[in-house]
Assembly symmetry: C2
Homo-oligomer: 224 residues x 2
């Protein structure tokens, strides 16, 4: 089979890439809290470079929606308010629905074996803790969308997953073990197997929207 690891370990050929990778990782794992101010100087010395590449990494993170950049007042970690969280799930639902619709006719028997395996991995990771489970969950979805052959779509979806990742972690830690997750994803696989792409799209949309209200309690307070 051909399940590549979904973990985003990039070899940094430039300092900027290193800074970006470092900060993205830190943000994804919730090492900084929303509203925290990121001071270029500090981070630069932390990873042994000057402020410049860090600044440029900030811009990329801002484009991903992970931080907010305001002229002359630096870089703050961008938590999602309840509205933004909901909006993100709305967007995810249509994008991932589209991905499923596209991917459907491309799925082979082998793909389904892969998906089963990934689902199994996800379940097992569920017992370990949020850190593993969230990654495996992303891996499952990433594999599916990867088959679509739509690079832009894939990147957009991945970016949204990264943005909500900290909230997924908190959520998972809080509820301990999402019993419904297994069933949810099995449903999805069944819909894919049915061959009815309209149905699969709908099921995926519902699957995505299913999670949103569960995370509501962990949203950041609205700003300003």
């Amino acid at each position: 089979m051909a399940i590549s690891s979904a973990s985003t370990t990039h070899v940094a050929s430039t300092a900027e890439e290193e800074a970006y990778a470092y900060l993205q990782q830190a943000l994804r794992f919730g090492r900084y809290k929303p509203g925290d101010r990121l001071i270029p100087e500090e981070i630069a010395t932390e990873i042994g470079m000057s402020r410049m590449p860090v600044r440029e990494a900030f811009r990329r993170l801002a484009a991903d929606g992970l931080v907010t950049l305001r002229p002359n007042r630096g870089c703050v970690v961008a938590g999602l308010t309840l509205d933004e969280l909901n909006e993100t799930f709305e967007i995810r639902s249509v994008l991932e629905g589209l991905a499923v619709r596209i991917v459907m006719p491309r799925l082979t028997l082998e793909s389904f074996e892969d998906l089963d395996r990934l689902l199994l991995r996800m379940e097992r990771a569920g017992e370990a803790g949020s850190s593993d489970w969230v990654l495996r969950h992303q891996e499952f979805h990433a594999y599916l969308y990867g088959m679509s052959g739509r690079p832009k779509l894939i990147r957009q979806i991945a970016a949204l997953h990264v943005a909500i990742e900290p909230y997924m972690r908190i959520w998972f830690d809080y509820i301990d073990k999402p019993l419904s997750a297994r069933e949810e994803h099995q449903n999805l696989i069944d819909a894919l197997k049915s061959g009815d792409s309209a149905k699969a799209e709908r099921v995926m949309q519902e699957h995505v929207l299913f999670t949103a209200p569960l995370l509501a309690d962990f949203a950041s307070p609205s700003r300003r």
Copy 2:
């Protein structure tokens, strides 16, 4: 009424913003051709600043998908291949469909008057040339989506519009006057008036996908 101008004229409080605005404008209007290399030094002197803010503007443009940034080999204008153009329209169709679904229950009689006015403006601009028409067309769509109250969705859609803008221009110049455009948009308004949000969503999806094949001839050659 409350139709704000859709033109993206930003007051640049920093040099970086100025560089970004300048370059985005230039790229949107097709002043550079896909594949062209953008040299920080040149642009910097062109608008009277050093390379640094220009470099940072590059990153933002890259996030918008307007340029491509490769380590140690600079910044090139990122034309869309046929596949990418199609993909962009696919994504647009679901995002703008979603926007319409959300916006539907918020539309008032006044909104419809505004939309009629905007449609009229668009038609009149059609006689002037692609430059005006494309802006008015964006204005029409922007107004509609603006009512959704979904900032992220609005930004994403706007970004996609910007990315395809040069192609819309070329297309419009080529065919001179899109007779079907009026009918298309009137259709859309009718669907919105019907109050059936599922229908409106579908009509919007079709409206977006309708344009894609028309632009196919103007796609950039695939790279590499």
